[in-house]
Amino acid sequence: MTAVTPPPETLRAPLVVEFPFTRSLGPVQSAFLTGLRERTVLGVRTGTGEVLVPPVEYDPATAAELRDLVEVGATGTVTTWAWNHEPRPGQPLATPFAWVLVRLDGADTALLHALDAPGPHAVRTGMRVRVRWADERAGAITDIACFEPHDSDPVAEPRPHDGLFADPVTGIVAPARLDYTYSPGGAQTRYLRALAERRTVGERCPSCSKVYVPPRGACPTCGVATTDQVEVGPRGTVTTYCIVNIKAKNLDIEVPYVYAHIALDGAGLALHGRIGGIPYDQVRMGLRVEPVWSDDGRYPDHYRPTGEPDADYDTYKELL
């Protein structure tokens, strides 16, 4: 059965990507972040005597290893700024603030952070600021809550520091969350909408005539769009399978169970599915199966034997 139907409204759904990256720190970053916890700002001195704050382990110009830690001031000078009147999630302050690069007293390079100020009129390049420490500090860049305006004379010289602290921080956990509105595009929208009607719809390549299930909108052999929709199944043939003996977390399926490749009748390749309604050790290549829909009818929960005779190997050998 072939039909060209107008594209239905594309499906959309919220998608959240969250990841807590656990990162280890080298000797320099460990000393710097532990120092912030102790209200001490450390830099690192390069071979030419420059002091880099925030410190790095290798000279950005020469790649030489840097380990010569020094303590710099908690006061500094704004080298450039930008007024952020609409703070975004995760940023240091929830009220309007200035992004600033601050060269701390004793440092030769600048640190990026936020400046708490009443408005853009109160910020200028060259203004003097100081660190406002976070009340609770854990050894992270956010231990600096922000900078605040502060009139003081620059303190010129960095002081030697051994970088040693009790209970040093050796790693950070950097949580991140990104929010998306996911849309699967045309082909997969058509596939998912048909599933909701308990139909399985593939798409045919106009060049090689292969029918892809599930369709992704393109034939990977010919590199052209698949547009002709073709209803396949509902019955199919097990082309190959495996027996799963390990119970997956949060999965309410008793082990062992069988996971199979199933070539639906009329499809040009096999899709994946679980086999139920038959003891796991009686599943075989060639077994004829049909879908059992989930209670809400949106997708096949598993496939069960139809009771037909097994398919002849020659009928599915090209789909293995």
Partner: protein, 356 residues
């Protein structure tokens, strides 16, 4: 610095791009990419099976879809197995990899494509995840904020002023009126501050889009294109990641890449600069010593259409297309990646004289 001279002739022989749109909910990534792939193949008469090497550029973080490039590969006909590679950055760097592949003699033709589908997420927030994870990423400084710091540094240095930035925005959108693919063609208000000193007009649109080019070597290029855009040199360089270490008013990496690509050996008539923010065009013009005689971004540039991961490849394609049409004889193309022009690629393209 002596420019590197490639010992094999390689040219861009075809270029296509999508219409860049604020959103493309109705298209998956492969559905968005396929028409531009088909267009460059049509222009050259090549079939997918004729292509010697395929390379793409994209980032999964934009659409929040893991391994999306493997699915986009369906659009190039990846079965039976092809010689293929992918860069997780702008497609300009995919073009660089393909150029190197052709210089080695391992292939005579290459298909390069890239795409960005930014509409599902918030691209300003997504791009914070490419920052240093120890000192920057926990503060979530978004891409506009970082560009605004650079813009203020330029204002403080007296290198530009807000009316000059507005003029760059106006010229770009005016030029884009002749570009049927542009997302923001024609005049538009400079708008309110997004992050001061950058107004909405100083910032690129957020949108979805794709681009593709075909490269070919030597006589193969002459067979496929009546006036190939020969790549006379190409180089890319990177600066220190930490913004506080850099002079944000300058771009030494762009200048070095241009030197190595041979850009300063003879004047160029066209420059396609990947400057998503007006202030970045100021930095790039200074780094590249471009004067008023050079036509900068006749396509409208990234201020008129900035599909992230494709906008740099589009600069190379637009410059090449001007050579194909005979509108340019020697063009510079530039691509950037990362905050405040962190990484920069420069290519010099030439058309053969008297062949139009």
């Amino acid at each position: 610095m002596t420019p590197h001279r490639p010992d094999r002739e390689v040219a861009i022989v075809a270029f296509a791009q999508s219409d860049h749109r604020r959103r493309t909910d109705d298209l998956s990534e492969v559905e968005m990419v396929m028409p531009v792939l088909h267009e460059v193949l049509r222009q050259t008469g090549l079939k997918t099976s004729d292509i010697g090497f395929t390379c793409s550029g994209s980032s999964d973080y934009l659409a929040g879809r893991a391994f999306s490039f493997t699915m986009a590969l369906d659009g190039v006909g990846a079965w039976p197995p092809i010689s293929e590679s992918h860069v997780e950055t702008d497609g300009a760097w995919a073009l660089y990899e393909a150029w190197v592949k052709l210089l080695t003699g391992e292939a005579d033709t290459a298909l390069v494509y890239s795409y960005g589908k930014a509409s599902p997420g918030s691209v300003r927030d997504v791009l914070t995840r490419q920052l240093d994870p120890y000192y920057l990423a926990p503060l979530w400084p978004d891409s506009v904020a970082l560009a605004a710091l650079q813009a203020q540094a330029l204002l403080d240095a007296g290198a530009t002023d807000e009316p000059a930035l507005a003029a760059i925005a106006a010229r770009s959108r005016q030029d884009a009126a002749d570009n049927p693919h542009a997302q923001l063609p024609g005049a538009r208000p400079q708008g309110e501050y997004l992050v001061q000193p950058l107004r909405t007009g100083d910032c690129p649109p957020i949108g979805d889009g794709a681009a593709a080019v075909i490269l070919a070597a030597g006589d193969r290029a002459r067979e496929l294109c009546s006036r190939p855009a020969w790549i006379r040199g190409m180089d890319h360089r990177i600066e220190a990641h930490s913004l506080g270490v850099r002079d944000l008013t300058d771009s030494p990496s762009t200048r070095l890449a241009a030197e190595r690509a041979g850009a300063f050996e003879a004047p160029v008539d066209t420059a396609e600069l990947h400057a998503p923010f007006t202030s970045q065009e100021v930095v790039l013009r200074r780094a590249l010593d471009l004067d008023e005689s050079v036509r900068v971004n006749p396509s409208g540039g990234a201020l008129a259409a900035n599909p992230v991961m494709a906008a740099g490849l589009i600069r190379l394609g637009e410059a090449a297309a001007r050579i194909h049409r005979g509108d340019s004889d020697r063009a510079l193309a530039h691509a950037t990646s990362g905050p405040c022009l962190q990484q920069n690629l420069v290519a010099v393209l030439e058309g053969e004289p008297h062949v139009r």
